[in-house]
Symmetry: D3
Subunit: 334 residues, 6 copies
């Protein structure tokens, strides 16, 4: 039987499926009767659930972060849908397909990795090619790099998001570099590859998306430089030569400056053509991803505008009700 | 005989050529003897010149903005080169090749125009194609569009700069649009074409680069919208149909928002994917042009850094003395 | 029978009148019984209303934006007043006096229009007088200009607000111009008249106040310049002369710069005395309107301070409890 | 019997004690039965309380700001604790120990005052010592100075907070001044003493903490200068000499500039070494107080981070679950 | 014989008049011969002067700030006018008409004072009228108030500037207050009178314009509040009543907040209608004064724009060469 | 014979000593005669020098950065002192005492090092003590750490400045930590030690002060973290244990956040008590150093104010002419 995802649940539906539990609470109603309340989640969203007349025993039978088999019914309560549970039971993690519980890139991860390898293995600089190889054969790194989102909420916030964002940027860098002679293609491609690599340690993405403590206290920009430093001995062993110091410093500079301004957390602003182009492509791809996602995910056909995007401090224009025609009736915006 | 350009003049050179005069002054030295001082310019730069023992008659024989035939010698005076004149005489404008006196794009203007037309004539939307055609057959507009710089000082500050900047942006837009499905290629290309069209009236570029009064008081963003409005009757005559109102408003929005933020003079921020991408490409191309120009034009091999760029508030790194190697000796930066 | 406005409803009141519906919802209570909830509004405000044991049939019998005849009772529910409905029925729009449902200026619109015409018809410049006349005889424009609010929420947010704000500014300009010799009175008065004229298209104000899509994407500043351009052929026909180009550009500059700074959405800052004075009067009148409205509308006599004004980021001081005496007891502010 | 403070109340507890009432309301439930709701507070916090089936008579039997004897029971209602009251009765203020109802410094006020006097009476400058004496013998001032909090919410927000903050800063100033020769110790100590003295009139702290109207309209910085001016005649009487004008202006400057920047409400920035050091110590002590309080008061052991601090716009890191070990499992931060 | 003012001196003129000396220096030329250089000033400006072959004796015969009788000739030296002196001799201060050496308001000070008194003596509030009287009969204050400039450089930077600025603002306040019912006219007029009164002690204006040390360290905003406080005992003696506390605090608030924002040095932002209107009128009058002065004082007919105004960060548009016509030729702006 | 330092040279002095050459130029005077111009420097400053009638041979006999023996005379030329040279000759570096050519800390470096070691060797944490030891026994590091300035221009810009700044901060940290229980003394002391350690590679300080290329492109904050990482294997070897991961991350966080805000180049803001206190002490010490240096170095007794400090955007008040008395005469400030 196909799974019913949270976003598919409608008023009156029965449900009988596995969900991730968060926010469980034991409460009393006005008559003093106990009930258990929680949030049930999967990769498409979450919904509040209550089990009436359920006491301490039920409350203790599972923890936040556990998967549970839930049997109940959906109903509209004071304007929102909620689940009234008949039965709930913890399920072992190993029986779970995590794919159902985390949002994923819609691209094929294998093909993204292939494009990534392809770009990197065709670099002209033997030093940079060796550096790339050391990362590509580092299995734990590559597993994380393939799984990590590019952000917790803002953009590419799904499993594989970092890989997708990185490879798209390499595609773009590949097409743009010819317009800017004086920009070193090898450096640019390697900078794109590594600019957000520190996110593999800054973020946690095993079952939910969040920041690690190291991520909060050190940050992906510095972690990225550390990962580059740690790889140096292996690279020099591979090539049998010292890694050129200027090359290394230019790479570090690209990682450090890719947010473009101090206010956005870069301790240095771009001072080489490769750093400037890397920053420009990153900002463009990040913003375009947000705009297009807001437009694509909007389901509200009562207004020509998407919901307010807090990061970009604006709404986006979806256009008139017939798709390609301008609504001459004046719609309210705010 | 080939012309000696100002940038070619060296200590001890004789000169016997035509220059543009600016900043002429009649002065007395400490002994009370009069002399005439001025700046002689061509497209490669300017140099201070003095004619000793020259009084009112010489001073009145030409005006600022005139072209003069100058006969004299270059010498190093207190650390700077200057010209000591023997003879100076006004020359008629019609005898002058203006090419010698204004910096020009290094690209072939004819080929740039061809690419521009090519992009525009292959648009799918009949309305936008008709709009493009109306601009392309407007001879005075196209003459200005081909001559106008993209800026007075900051970037593409040369004859043909606007055309070069616009066509490069179209090349880039053409390559990027596929990465962002949901972005209308036709709208994007037309927006790129028109985003700076108002500069043809905002700037003056007949003999020197500056702002017109209209440019200062109204600005190229508003002028661009006005030019679009003025073209509408012709477009509708050409297609025999009303220009779709939504299309027109989306185009205006792209012109109005292309600086990206209010602080940079856009009265609206980008709220459509095409406006966001147009802004991103514009900022990227503008900045990359500045970086690469600073690096290319730098002649100082005493330092690894370009002169301070006031607009971008930074220097750029040229690299170590051997071009591709890092200077391990620590060079002073500031 | 006189209408009971929302702001007059008290706990225990019966009501039997027409209201505007917004936010209707069909909901279930804890026992699964359906009820219909909505907001009932008129020009004085809105109140939540519920009809218990009402299902799909009632829910579908009217839409948001409809007028309904409502029969029910007001009661205090958990600290707020709400309406419990006995009966609700849709009413045709044509039977409605819209005056009851939109807030209006307290000034006499006819007298405001008279003052406006009076100022404009006494301008000395024949060109500006002709321009004014073209606007004054444009019936659709004048209908909109008389109805449009000056803002959606911030200030003069009522029918006739734009007209009231404009005429007050002309009164002030008329009294101030003599203090600033070198300022052209005609230009100033015409600039005041047109500075917000674009709001007639930027805002929607048929039944509720909001922004049009054109308003969001283009904005009243640019629209105002477009309206001025569109009027030029008629003006030149009227005078039989070309409209002086400098005059036109100075007028556009006043419209474009009236917000005073780029951050507030003006693409140009004031660079003529008339533009500077227009901006100063606009800001003064807008702010004074907000302060005095906050003080006038405050009904809370428990505190010496108005509620927090988000736009101005402050509260205002109403003074001590006896009106004109200082409260020596120290009142809590926050 | 020992008092049960609000922070000690647990689900199921009975209570029978005196509390401060705020926010009383008379409400109806869905069945139309009346009940009285209020907040009961003491120095450790507040809790919502309801008395079911209680009407107008109960509602009118006490006012906000009164102390009441409350008899009832604590229960968990929809996830929060609340009090269900059986009986409630007003108590006279004179029978109340205010200590139970306002948070207090944990330091001994008498010892803080002793240290304050000690520092001030050992100043070398006879003028400054006389000035200090005039404040120290001003009983109403000293009573307020000992009771006043240093802030309403941000830091040292408890009775005695101002005194504690001031004396800590004097301790620090005493230890630091030797590192900065050229800094006048006497001036520094007196500046620390007086920098926030105006808070005694800016804030109200009789039963709750808030701002006085004078505090809002004039502010503690200006009030501090006024208090200094008012003391001058007494000081000069005490010493029999004019107070040196330069000394007075340097003191005023320290009070005026102690917030460090205009944006933070200082009308002058520090321009003497004493003013600069005073500002630095104030900012350091204020920030350290907030950090350490957030860490100390945090009771949530589910996360390694304190709640978001709005003033400082950050969370603080508490460390891993075992206190001194780093949590290698990656905890979600946000 | 009429005095020749510095601004009247032309190349070749002889001069024989009294000037104020600043910046005197003893120097050697390349041959080792000594000469004395200085700046000679009067109220219209300053010019560099040299006395060749003049040694220590001449150098010591006068000091900076002295008045000297100068006998010499004007000549153009390297593009600037300078004075070559034949003879120079110190003149006693008492023989000098200071009017010649400080710029003055062009208004009649007596009439300005009359208008000021007239406004103040017609206030309705007996308390405010008594306060005004106390200032008006304070001779030293009124002497300073009549002489003080309103600024050192920015606006009204001339003797009588403060008075002129204040009375103009009262004229404007008088005309505007009727438009804003709810604004107390008496408070507004008194606030205008006192808002900059502290400048009489913040600035020095005996022979040149500058800041006093007190002005730098305390500032006119705080000084103004102090002056108000100091006047209280006299006012209460005059009326025989206590000055109402709320009135006093509202007045202080107006002085404190008249710069409008913290960034501009006000420790409080306007929170009463009178404070808001005072701030708006002050900003308007200050800015209009700068614009009109820049336009009036500009003598350069080579450009349609005034010199760059650093305070306002812009140039102003003077218009085309024929005064009222637009220059269709595109003038360079920058 | 004692050396005559540049700051001791007076008009008319003969000189016969060794100086550092910078800015050498070969120039012609108005008659076409060649001369050589240069700047001669030592640790106390620089002075312009000319050798008349000196041509190519002299010009080529030494380079910028060389030490030369100079024989000549000081004279006042157009208001500034300059040196006229009779003879100039290159001197070998090995014969030079560099002490004469670089400004040095006035503290005893040996004693500073002793205090540093003392603090570090008494840390309680064995891991942090081992870490300290590894740095202390790293001779090249300690040599650089003892020589490096703390800044190029802003503060502690002299040989030994970094050590002096660091040890002063440790002294202060030592005295303050007791006031802030909950702050880890060991972490704080180690953070102070390492916070600017990256400056040893960010700056160049062999003969003049400047930035290295690595310093510009990577910055001392990131370099400091890299130095900490590089030391880890040695530390773990020394203790025979893994360095606790949380401790390492807390240390990195302190280095990364010590500038306090992103705008000042820290990629993270302080989120632990130790990081917050480190930042506060650093800012206090840096600012106090600048204030006191400006006051101490000011030699101008014509004004009560120091020269404008560009970093802090202010002047400092030196006080009246008699040192401790206020100048009642109002001095001009600007």
């Amino acid at each position: 039987m196909t799974r019913r995802y949270v976003e598919q649940l409608r008023d009156g539906d029965s449900l009988d499926d596995v969900y991730l539990v968060t926010d469980k609470q034991l409460r009393a109603n006005r008559n003093g009767n106990l009930y258990v309340q929680m949030e049930l989640r999967d990769r498409t969203g979450g919904m509040s659930a209550r089990m009436w007349n359920a006491g301490d025993a039920v409350y203790r039978s599972f923890d936040n972060g556990d998967f549970v088999h839930a049997d109940g019914k959906v109903q509209n309560f004071q304007g929102s849908l909620q689940i009234v549970l008949n039965h709930i039971e913890k399920v072992e993690h190993q029986k779970i397909d995590l794919h159902d519980f985390m949002p994923h890139t819609e691209h094929n991860v294998g093909k993204l990795l292939e494009r990534l390898r392809d770009y990197l293995m065709r670099l002209n600089s033997p030093h940079l090619r060796a550096l790339a190889e050391c990362f590509l054969i580092d299995d734990p790194f590559m597993r994380n790099f393939s799984a990590c989102p590019a952000g917790v909420k803002l953009h590419h916030a799904y499993v594989g998001g970092l890989l997708e964002h990185t490879v798209t940027m390499m595609d773009i860098a590949d097409r743009l570099v010819a317009f800017y002679p004086g920009t070193d293609r090898d450096l640019l491609m390697m900078g794109v590859f590594l600019h957000d690599a520190g996110k593999t340690k800054e973020l946690s993405y095993a079952r939910t998306f969040g920041y690690t403590d190291e991520g909060q206290l050190v940050g992906h920009i510095t972690i990225g430089v550390e990962m580059l430093n740690e790889m140096m001995p292996r690279v020099e062993e591979l090539t049998g030569e010292a890694f050129p110091r200027e090359l290394l410093i230019r790479l570090k500079h690209m990682i450090l400056s890719h947010h473009g301004t101090l206010e956005y957390g870069s301790p240095k602003i771009p001072m080489t053509p490769e750093a400037m182009l890397l920053h420009s492509i990153d900002m463009m791809d990040t913003r375009m991803h947000m705009v297009l996602r807001d437009l694509r995910e909007d389901r509200n056909n009562q207004t020509a505008w998407t919901p307010f995007n807090v990061t970009l401090q604006r709404r986006f224009y979806k256009g008139g009700p017939n798709g390609d025609l301008y609504a001459d009736t004046r719609d309210s915006y705010d």
